[in-house]
Symmetry: C2
Subunit: 218 residues, 2 copies
DNA sequence: CATTGTGAATAAGTTCACAGCC
DNA sequence: GGCTGTGAACTTATTCACAATG
């Protein structure tokens, strides 16, 4: 059975993914237990908040000892829903789409890349990351046929909203958007956004305020 | 002279970048004034918070009318520090690094891509996005020579921490990390992270709780 | 009179600090 | 003794609602 099904705060959710990654690498190097202090440090957060986050999922720490790496990783993974079968399509096989297709982040986490679409005749039929690029014009039939339940939009900003609507019409309710636009979607469809320009801008602001922006003097 | 130099809340900062993007596209289509309601809608936020955000920068709305698109865009841009000369190096010229190099997000926002580095002999010397790939082994001399003040890490997770340290040693204090690891950096160095796996995981969680994860039934 | 700017109310998130347990 | 789990204090962020104003 699944853990307490109360909804987790957004902030907690973001951190759970960090913990999970650290736990996976601890497991890979054979560590069996870890304290909140150590796990928090490696995740770049305060240990009190880590304990609070984990306490929302249930109680599996042992006082005086810490958490069992494997058990905790499995539990976070299950809580996030990574034990389900996530079938991902990447829409847009340009530079970015192809780079994402080749990215290992899918593997071993419940995500399977099952389709790569583009509208350009020059790309359709070419093969990347074990997948043939297929015609985005047939998205409405291709996505349901492959039982896609998550779409990654890696298309130019100008094309994003229209493609998003078609993806939604094809029954996909979970979208990760790499295009630099705010997508408008109907209720019930979730969008998350990855935005390099935004991150650079925030970095620029902080650089101008906290540290020096330029390289150090002599 | 620069606006009120009080430090902006992190949440506001994130939204300013959204407003800026919407304002730029409004300007491109010739719109001259915009109300908080319209701008908020297009940015996907509540209008009250937009007004509160803008009021932190100063007072430039006109009651009964709205905001001047050009003036507001210029002001946000200046506040974020985009009128400075940001010299960006991409470290790692694999699929992702090359895709980022080709990405238009740099142009016209104060960011200039000035170097592309990799350690692989097969890539060094090849040319992408108007730049020759140069030897990451010489990072310590190349970055200062190009007056780089922002680095984008597009390398495998296993290499990221070591490269990060070298980049910092070369005097760069602003880092955008695409590698799936939490970087440990000394105080005064800022890191922001872009993490596709994390976004997919958060999407997975919400899909399992709010909507359906799979495609709709017949 | 439409729309801003903002005080006051509410909600969300973080940190502290320590009792409770292994 | 060491470490978790958590109530209470605090900080940050969002929303409401309306007086002020061009």
């Amino acid at each position: 059975m699944r853990a307490a099904d109360k909804v987790l705060p957004e902030a907690t959710l973001g951190r759970l993914t960090l913990y999970l990654r650290v736990l996976d690498s601890l497991a890979a190097e054979g560590t069996e237990t870890v304290s909140s202090e150590v796990l928090a440090e490696a995740s770049g957060v305060n240990s009190a908040i880590l304990r609070k986050d984990l306490s929302l999922l249930g109680t599996f720490g042992r006082r005086g000892v810490g958490y069992e790496v494997g058990v905790l990783a499995g539990f976070i993974s299950g809580t996030l829903g990574l034990d389900r079968d996530w079938r991902v399509a990447i829409v847009g096989a340009g530079n970015l789409g192809r780079a994402l297709a080749g990215y290992g982040g899918f593997r071993g986490n419940g995500f399977r890349l099952v389709a790569l679409l583009d509208q350009s005749p020059e790309l359709i039929g070419r093969r990347f990351a074990d997948l043939d690029v297929r015609d985005a014009g047939e998205l409405e039939t291709l996505l349901p046929a492959d039982a896609v339940n998550m779409a990654v939009l890696a298309v130019p900003g100008a094309a994003a909203q229209a493609l998003c609507e078609r993806v939604v019409a094809a029954g996909v309710r979970n979208i990760l958007n790499f295009a630099p636009v705010v997508l408008q979607v109907p209720p019930g469809v979730q969008v998350r956004k990855v935005d390099m320009a935004r991150e650079l801008q925030i970095l620029a602001y902080h650089a101008g305020h906290a540290g020096q922006g330029g390289p150090p003097g002599p």
